[in-house]
Symmetry: D2
Subunit: 186 residues, 4 copies
């Protein structure tokens, strides 16, 4: 690890409601895990078309190695993006990872975690390493290749044996040749 | 690194022609780098629609950290998938990473590297770590998230400082809110 | 027109609110036009990903020849898919064609137009000819080619001169060759 | 039909080889049918990614009402885009509609039909009405909605009863609610 690189910790999440989890989560409680925080709004088109599908994909594919967390950071249309509306949205879109509702701030449009984390809008992505330090902090879409790369590096840092993780996937004995694949004659 | 994991080396590439490189490459010469080998045929639909665009994306985004290598492993339609045809194909599709033509074997349909590497067809993906050992060996498409993850882990192994690599991308001071993004009021 | 084909008229739309129109519309008032009714719910994933983008595309490309009408047929999550929530949704997704809110029925989950039209769910598409008769009535996605075909046939029926409509689009004098096009040498 | 619109006939196709048809076709012989001519080159990226899939979709969905014809108009890389290479290409991509090889002109790079039809490059689309007159003539991609519309109008002109064609598709009795559809309670 370079001595020059500075990776600040992230202020604790301030949530007023949770979905898809039996009990509230805290960033402190997730120390030791690589955490991906996806900040979104249910009426934000870019979140619905790109950010949330990516988070769901991540949760499905890597949920045993990376902790995916949604945070509903409502900063507009507060009156209709309520926790009840979010609950219906999560059910319809079959979002299955834990989602927190960012604590509203009566004095401002932006909710509290969004303020503390200095998010510029939605979707935003924050990735924390096992020590809870911010390693990626981005407004807008991060493509899968880049996100996978960052996660792979963080997983390889202190802890997980890269060897296990990168073990060649088992190739089916008789791979079929549909979907444009060209199978070689044996 | 787990003692149990066995990662064999890959037999040297046997090439009879090269494109997009001033001189022939060898796997031995690439030792010390993470190498992604994309085996394809120019008339394989899955290669054209998925594999090659991914390899090109990889080369554009990560070409300074990962070596991308195409290998044209012709095992059917030999008479029309010639090096001259490949050259036209590479120009039309603007493929810019180095591409080798796998050495034909007069006695068999499969070319020599394809035989040695026991490829099942095209597209196939092989990822080598810095020591030249096979860490991913897959027939068919590997999605970007999975591929990024493997590459991130291999880059983090001995050598590259993960800290540098995963440094948070600079977020533009005034990110615009086009493309479905929702910008927060300041 | 075949004597055998039976194309029933559609019961009048029962709306309790409108967006994107200075005044309420009626199907009776649209007689003489080919009308495309897109029934949707703002929290229905298939509507958001396919149906509404298609309706918007239709409105942009053919809005001067076909009347596109959205109808918000809420039959679930009534408490959160309110007109106010719909208004925020339409603004965020930049939906610009007229959208009606289907009149709720206090006695049933399904709103009144949805009942009368016997819709099976959302998204649903109904196409009316110039006489107000139902010519397409489909639950689920109708692809662009099929929808374009139906609309072309209805436009050609009594009224619009097909000649005008199908006039060859002007080809730019100097078409560029980006995006995979191959320009011929002159 | 407006008196002002001028729709010229198209010079007869000059082909030196055919695929996917038991015998050569002529435009004259197709009089009475709406014909879609897709001019392409097998190494043209825009043809492979957009034009040919559209033509194949058209052939599958509307092949009983519209005649789809491919024309391989080679104007570059002549030495590798041979009829033998085209044959392998058509097999790999499972193109099933008739495809002609445009007659080369020893004196020029452009083949003869391409010259006569004044095509600007590939992909190009020409649509003929039942009388063999040009109703669409476009270099580059035409989207499905626009193409469907033109075809619908031409099918409705003299001949096919629009009523039949636009008959509402049968909706399955018990439509399932997968793929983001929301089924209404009965």
């Amino acid at each position: 690890m370079s001595a020059a690189a500075y990776h600040p910790p992230l202020d604790e999440l301030q949530a007023c409601a949770w979905f898809n989890t039996p009990r509230p989560l805290t960033l402190a409680g997730l120390r030791g895990e690589v955490v991906v925080i996806h900040a979104f709004q249910m009426l934000c088109p870019g979140c619905v078309s790109q950010g949330l599908p990516q988070a769901q994909r991540l949760h499905h594919q890597l949920g045993d190695r990376v902790k995916v967390l949604g945070v509903h950071t409502v900063f507009e249309h507060h009156e209709v993006m309520t926790p009840a509306a979010l609950q219906a949205f999560l059910a319809e879109y079959r979002i299955s990872f834990p989602v927190a509702v960012d604590q509203p701030d009566p004095a401002r449009r932006l909710p509290r975690s969004m303020q503390a984390w200095q998010l510029q809008g939605t979707p935003s992505l924050i990735v924390l390493d096992r020590r809870g330090r911010v390693r990626l902090h981005q407004f807008g879409h991060v493509d899968d290749l880049q996100l996978g790369l960052v996660l792979g590096m963080l997983l390889a840092e202190e802890g997980e044996a890269a060897a296990e993780a990168a073990a060649p996937p088992t190739v089916p004995a008789a791979a079929t040749c549909a979907d444009g694949l060209c199978g070689a004659p044996r």
